[in-house]
């Protein structure tokens, strides 16, 4: 059971270091909140989607986008109906009318939603969580906290395996686990005790194993792998930051976009 949503790959986007991807994503999200111009928002979305496609992760992103479609539609409908600045009717059906101004606001909100989603997906789908956490630990994140973040993703699947083993053991002693909904709900209760106990025991064992690897001393660790930031990665960081700064300037400096 893979808990991580990471999509394997070796393209240029994958080879970007995690922090560059975070900078790009954060800039994109910040810009989509700063800029109100619809074309600008569309452009941000285009860039995010292009990155996802270059990484070969677009297919995995589609279910997420499809899921958000309902929310986007509600933006259109609600804003179209009740936005205070509504003047011109776009679509009317009897007493109910959707106004043009509202629909445009709805479009803006929908674009913002999709921008946030695509930027986040750049991090989630194209960066392996352990690489991201290691990049943060290199820059000062507490190694203990970093470990907790990394281990969660690898260890939750083992809890799922333990659950299966406990359920099998209980089934083999006559516990009914299939059938009516009520039967299945009842089967849950005796599962809780052993699962929590065995998880606590495993946690203690793991803590002991970490202690004897010198984990407790919270000194700054050294790293096996050298951090490798490709040249174009630095360029992309600067582009992202420049875009962010110009966005701020154009919006609040000049009142454009």
């Amino acid at each position: 059971m893979r808990l991580s949503l990471y999509v394997e790959g070796d393209g240029w986007v994958h080879r970007l270091d995690p922090l560059t991807k975070v900078i790009i994503a954060v800039s994109a999200i910040a810009l989509t909140f700063i800029l109100t111009n619809l074309v600008a928002n569309g452009a941000i979305l285009f860039v995010s989607l292009a990155l996802l496609t270059a990484a070969g992760a677009l297919r995995r992103a589609l279910p997420v986008f499809a899921g958000a479609l309902l929310l986007a539609l509600t933006f259109f409908i609600i804003q179209g109906l009740v936005y205070p600045g509504n003047r011109t009717v776009a679509v009317a059906a009897g007493p109910v009318a959707l106004y043009r101004e509202g629909l445009l606001v709805g479009l803006h909100l929908a674009l913002r939603l999709y921008n946030i989603l695509s930027a986040t997906l750049i991090i989630v789908l194209v960066t392996h969580p352990t690489h991201l956490v290691e990049a943060l630990v290199r820059r000062g994140l507490s190694p203990r906290f970093g470990y907790v973040l990394m281990a969660v993703l690898q260890i939750i699947p083992t809890m799922a395996d333990q659950t299966k083993a406990i359920m099998d053991a209980q089934r083999s002693r006559g516990m009914e686990t299939e059938g009516k909904l009520w039967t299945r709900i009842k089967a849950f209760i005796p599962l809780m005790g052993p699962l929590v106990t065995s998880s606590l025991i495993s946690t203690e064992e793991r803590a002991l194993a970490l202690e004897v690897r010198g984990f407790g001393d919270n000194a700054r660790p050294t790293f096996l792998r050298e951090e490798h930031i490709p040249g174009y990665g630095i360029v992309l960081r600067w582009i992202a930051l420049a875009a962010l700064v110009s966005g701020i300037v154009m919006r609040w400096g000049f009142g454009w976009l």
Binding site: M150, A207, A209, E211, G214, T222, L224
Partner: protein, 280 residues
């Protein structure tokens, strides 16, 4: 030169009344392989934990006496510091995988990274640990995608990379099948041949008796005997103290067959030779 020196060690876990370790004293010389035997709850695991400082630093509780390993008094150093000289391997191979690394190679590096070992040093240590444990061709695999025996060897390799002087193993083969058990014992012998002092707590007394220089028998937190396996298993009172005896020894005792010096054979092959000559 004693590399482990335990003197009047007393320990009680928090919220308990009985001593888990009750005035234990012994010393181990450099390069020895010492087996620790005793029934369940006799204190074997507690003793192993005390070798690294987990007792008392991790478990808290009431601690008395002294444990000195590699010249360090365990009470005065953190577990991390002691771990650089004394490695500890636990029973469950699965929970010793940190889960923070994606390959076997990086998993072995985990301890080195946290010990602040310089990067240039790491590949040499990792390669040596992996080849000593026969894991070199698994280097690129996920640590979870290996068999039980391989996983336990990975745990040993991760500890070995820290280049400890002493290795303590707490029932390392209890969750392994016979093949895995053999792998681990083979690895332990390799380590011993490199001059590492080894302490193993085990239930598999037969296998332990074959390799140990001396065996420490414990019952209820006290030392019952500390002697070479041949002399230890000759004692008739071991069963009362809950110490398991290799089947070979009890069979030969019942058959009244013993070696010239009066001791009982420890291995099946020795017993076979004796029985053949007895009936020749």
């Amino acid at each position: 030169m004693a590399v482990i020196e335990v003197s009047e060690l007393r320990y009680r876990y928090p919220n308990t009344e009985k001593l888990a370790l009750d005035h234990i004293s012994f010393s181990v010389e450099k390069g020895e392989l010492v087996g620790i035997v005793g029934s369940n709850l006799s204190g074997k695991s507690t003793l192993c934990a005390a070798m690294v400082g987990l007792v008392p630093h991790f478990y808290k509780g009431a601690f008395g006496g002294s444990v000195t390993v590699s010249g360090m008094n365990v009470r005065e150093h953190s577990v991390g510091e002691v771990s650089r000289k004394v490695g500890l391997v636990f029973q469950n191979p699965f929970t010793q995988i940190t889960g923070a690394k994606l390959t076997v190679y990086e998993e072995v590096a985990f301890g080195l990274e946290h010990a602040g070992v310089p990067r240039e040093e790491m590949p040499r240590r990792i390669d040596r640990a992996l080849s000593t444990l026969g894991l070199a061709d698994l280097a690129e695999r996920s640590p979870f995608a290996v068999s039980g025996g391989q996983m336990q060897r990975l745990a040993i390799a991760s500890v070995l990379a820290m280049e400890p002087e002493i290795l303590v193993l707490d029932e390392p083969t209890s969750q392994l099948d016979p093949a895995g058990t053999s792998e681990v014992f083979r690895a332990i012998l390799t380590l011993r041949s490199e001059g590492i002092t080894v302490l193993i707590a085990e239930h598999k007394v037969e296998r332990l008796a074959e390799v140990a220089d001396r065996m420490l028998a414990i019952e209820k937190g006290r030392v019952v005997a500390f002697d070479a396996p041949a002399r230890l298993f000759n004692r008739a009172d071991l069963a009362e103290h809950g110490i398991a005896i290799p089947s070979v020894v009890s069979v030969c005792r019942s058959l009244g067959v013993s070696k010239e010096d009066g001791s009982l054979p420890l291995s099946v092959s020795d017993a076979a030779k004796l029985l053949e000559s007895a009936h020749a």
